[in-house]
């Protein structure tokens, strides 16, 4: 009888440890996913002043568009808060960039500028990296949240204070599309 009891307790303990470690691992992946997004966002912040500088020479009549981009960048850098807040600021920045590229369409000389071509490729890849990092992050969040909700791991999640994470959401449907810059 005692043996059976010992075995049951041992199995229970092993399950508890592995389930707890599983949750920790998933949370770690969510964190990694988030820092990946951060790295890519930083890359984007660094590119923007260069882009604005290059465009300035050609687009004297479009001050407003350029200023919007600069302002959106500053806002995105300074935002503090959770994933939802950050997502909102980043989405706004994406929007202003999109309208900058739309306006740039009207400037053939700018389109031919070698520096602009390089910047265009860099920005396209950065936009893609941001959205892939976001996609990866959301996949990890989904796995983590599911784990904290399903029985029986939800008991451990509740006992040890694992709480659900926010998704990095895109609110406007067209934001899901990669920005198209056709020069």
């Amino acid at each position: 009888m005692l043996w059976i009891l010992v075995v049951i307790i041992a199995v229970g303990l092993i399950w508890l440890i592995s389930a707890y470690n599983g949750l920790i691992r998933l949370r770690q992946r969510v964190k990694n996913g988030w820092s990946q997004i951060d790295v890519q966002l930083k890359r984007r912040y660094d590119l923007i002043p260069n882009l604005v500088e290059t465009c300035k020479g050609y687009m004297q009549h479009e001050r407003e568009v350029l200023e919007n981009v600069t302002r959106a960048r500053t806002q995105a850098i300074e935002v503090s808060g959770g994933a939802a807040e950050q997502a909102k600021a980043e989405n706004f920045l994406s929007q202003t960039l999109r309208s900058l590229f739309a306006v740039a369409e009207n400037y053939p000389q700018l389109k031919a500028n070698e520096n602009m071509l390089k910047l265009q490729e860099e920005l396209t890849t950065t936009e893609n990296r941001v959205s892939f990092a976001r996609q990866h992050y959301n996949d990890q969040v989904m796995k983590f949240n599911t784990k904290t909700e399903v029985f029986p791991t939800n008991l451990i999640a509740g006992a040890f204070g694992f709480t659900k994470k926010d998704f990095f959401q895109t609110e406007v449907p067209e934001e899901r599309e990669p920005i198209k810059v056709n020069f």
């Binding site: 490729e121 860099e122 396209t124 890849t125 892939f132 996609q135 990866h136």
Partner: protein, 301 residues
């Protein structure tokens, strides 16, 4: 995904064992015909072991060298690096090595290696020149999917073995026809020789065919799977669909591809096989392109 990886590893082991068995049989017959006796078996055993090890550790290097692929520099091909780095973020795979095949006629690409940590992707210059950015992204995502589920291990081993079997059967045939006679005259068993000669001939013909059939049977399902995974990775199946359309319509012939490496490419580089009217015939390593495109487009809806 995990089942795929396990299946690929299992298949690779089965392949090596079956291949060694065929080789040892060949060695036995060769030994009988040439009058070496059991030395043929010993030789075949050594050769097959050496080849399995070479295939595993150096297979990717051999395949890349045969295809005349040169390392791609980041300075010269920034966009290629950018696209792969984007997909690395999406898939969570390590960064593969990138290679260029200097062929301006045939747009094509393949992946090779033994696992995601030792993987390479090669693309032709024609692919970079003719596809747009989203199409390239689709093709590279397809290649990364092959890396992720260990298709590359199996495909590379097959490539090495098909190449070797063909080479040896060729050598063997020549030996029996031209060189074998002299040695055999010193052997006194003459009645059995005719029979063994016929068997040897049959085997020499069958062996490469046999290897070819394995190569064909396994790679068709993998292509559909890699297409689906690529769509999942990019969340944009139309990119790959339109790339496949462009590549398959292109009449350029890829000179560096051959029977041993054709199954590695995203679209079969051997046009005579690709153009054959019969869809999905026994001798095509890839499913019909139209069907792949159709499946991708249905995913996008």
């Amino acid at each position: 995904m995990y089942e795929e990886i396990g299946q690929n590893k299992r298949n690779s082991i089965i392949l090596v064992v079956v291949f060694a068995a065929v080789l040892i049989l060949l060695g036995y017959i060769f030994g009988q015909v040439a009058g070496f006796g059991y030395f043929g078996i010993v030789l075949a055993f050594i050769i097959s072991t050496a080849m399995a090890l070479t295939g595993y550790f150096r297979g990717d290097k051999i395949v890349l060298a045969v295809s005349r692929a040169k390392p791609a520099s980041r300075e010269k091909y920034p966009q290629l690096y950018n696209i792969v780095e984007e997909l690395i973020i999406a898939s969570g795979l390590p960064m593969p090595k990138l290679y260029i095949i200097h062929d301006n006629d045939a747009p094509n690409a393949f992946a090779t290696g033994r696992d995601p940590d030792h993987a390479s992707i090669a693309v032709t210059t024609a692919l970079l020149n003719r596809l747009n950015r989203t199409e390239l992204q689709g093709v590279l995502a397809h290649e990364l999917s092959h890396i992720g589920d260990y298709d590359i291990l199996f495909a590379t081993l097959i490539g090495i073995m098909v190449g070797m079997v063909a080479l040896m059967a060729d050598f063997f045939l020549r030996y029996t026809f031209w060189g074998g006679g002299r040695r055999r005259s010193s052997n006194n068993s003459s009645s059995g020789n005719g029979f063994i000669m016929i068997l040897a001939l049959a085997l020499a013909i069958l062996a490469p065919l046999f290897a070819l059939i394995i190569q064909l049977a396994v790679s068709r399902q993998r292509e559909y799977l890699a297409d689906a995974n690529a769509a999942l990775m990019t969340r944009y199946p139309e990119g790959l669909a339109s790339a496949l359309e462009k590549i398959s319509r292109d009449p350029g012939v890829l000179e560096v591809s051959n029977r041993a490496t054709q199954h590695l490419y995203i679209i079969s580089p051997i046009k005579s096989i690709r153009d054959r009217k019969k869809k999905s015939s026994l001798f095509s390593t890839h499913p019909p392109v139209e069907d792949r495109i159709k499946r991708l487009r249905e995913m996008g809806e």
